[in-house]
Symmetry: C2
Subunit: 291 residues, 2 copies
């Protein structure tokens, strides 16, 4: 977006009629001004349904166990928050959701994990890869927690998920497994969101229309009109006011215990994961259009 | 199946009319006699399409990189072999597939990884969790390879995938990422196989029919009539001849270099992943029938 800004100013300066715009895409959902970004809805849906299915898988065993699910998002917890969308009246899949927006407090965390395991509820613990300790350092790089685990720093192998896994299994003696969703989050199309797919397409269409009308140096922004029924419009917005800003999950969407999600987030996220695109398979294998 | 065997013999001995049968299910596909097992087709399809999508995701970056994909299967490589089903004329996603049926040879392995990376092809390296070294020990537990990595054994964190990742990144200086499919392989229903779903159902239906006719102590076995068009029938088979046996991937399905898959496996696996079941979503979230 910074480059879009510079290029469009240069084009204007030299009197060029070339229009420059930046059509956004990021599963991180961390761009300012726009309500959300193309890509987020599908990744959020992948996370939500993964959490849900893992919880049901876990529920068939009698033995108490938890899964630490490591989710992308270095500084913004939008994708990790989406784990909460996997819950409904049938299934409480997760209610420990740790975002980078809050300091990770091992003792309070272990207390809640222990309580849930006692009750046999919410076996999935959603952890953002970017959670930080009280010292402001990423837990994935925080020596103190690793040392607390077993007296030795395993910096080379395993990320924050493994560290949290060790914390739980050693302090609480609960069977713990880490699953790192890794790049599956951004490329898995089975179970994508039709809302997202259509909006991504419209972001491109609208951008061309705005450019044809003379707009330049803009990003097409999603402006939400209402949650239910979900209504959204696309408006151009000066990219200079968006570039280099990062939008994190606001306080109002994070629970008071600093490791859960409020209904405000659910209202926000729910419409973005609705609908299922039709996919093309050939002999069981997904076919994609390629350049 | 061993319990089914014992129970049915006991029922016969005491003259009971209770019929006992063992309807199989395992994503490992390692049961003897039956052509394949319910569950395998869907898990195989998940692996195939995951490999395919990860390869396309990797292809958008100019930097050479590989993904080590750790797949379930402690002693039988059926599910790992399914990675090859993600290839077609459009996409060569993987052609290094390491099964527990063959000794893992680090030097030959690194040579092939290096060659593929040079050519920029087949970025996904499919590794069974159960691969073993020349000493017959699981690589995941093999101290020698871990020491070769960095002089220290990281037994606590990370499985075989991380060990192979370290091997590649340290010896070849290629950017490497490990993805462990973990329990997603057995519970992810988006992109499941309709062939598998229907056959699993039929295995149950047929078992009841066989039992009604007086059969006992049996497992319903899938008997393949033809590959193309795919035809299969279900027959009862004495469970005493199946219990405690393990079916591994036969030599004819493994390539001469000991780290690839032959066309014979493709012919075997292809029909099992065909068709897509209709799933029920409510507001973007999968709904399941629960007891």
């Amino acid at each position: 977006m910074d480059t879009v800004d510079k290029l469009s100013r240069y084009a204007e300066k030299i009197g060029s009629e070339v229009r420059i715009c930046g059509v956004p895409k990021t599963i991180d959902n961390d761009l300012a001004i726009t309500d959300h970004t193309p890509g987020y809805g599908s990744a959020a849906k992948f996370v939500a349904n993964t959490v849900r299915q893992l919880a049901l898988d876990t529920a068939v065993y009698k033995m108490k166990s938890v899964i630490v699910l490591e989710i992308m998002g270095r500084n913004a917890g939008w994708l990790t928050a989406a784990a909460a969308l996997g819950n409904d009246e049938d299934v409480l899949a997760t209610d420990i959701i740790c975002l980078p927006e809050r300091v990770f407090e091992p003792e309070k965390f272990l207390e809640k994990v222990s309580k849930n395991a006692e009750k046999g509820i919410a076996p999935i613990i959603a952890i953002s890869e970017g959670i930080k300790g009280a010292d402001g350092k990423y837990i994935g790089e925080s020596l103190s927690l690793k040392e607390a685990n077993d007296g030795f720093a395993h910096a080379a192998l395993g990320g924050v998920g493994r560290i949290v896994e060790n914390l739980i299994s050693e302090k609480l003696k609960i069977k713990t497994r880490t699953i790192e969703l890794s790049t599956l989050q951004r490329c898995f199309s089975q179970g994508a969101s039709e809302c997202d797919r259509e909006e991504a397409y419209q972001a491109g269409v609208k951008s061309v229309e705005f450019a044809e009308k003379g707009e330049t140096g803009f990003m097409p922004c999603f402006k939400r009109i209402s949650d239910e029924p979900y209504k959204m419009e696309i408006v151009p917005y000066p990219v200079s006011k968006i570039a280099n800003l990062e939008k994190v999950v606001p306080d109002s969407m994070i629970g008071e215990d600093n490791m859960s999600i409020t209904d405000e987030f659910i209202k926000y996220g729910r419409p973005l994961i609705e609908g299922e695109p039709e996919l093309t398979y050939e002999k069981g294998i997904l076919k994609f259009v390629r350049r």
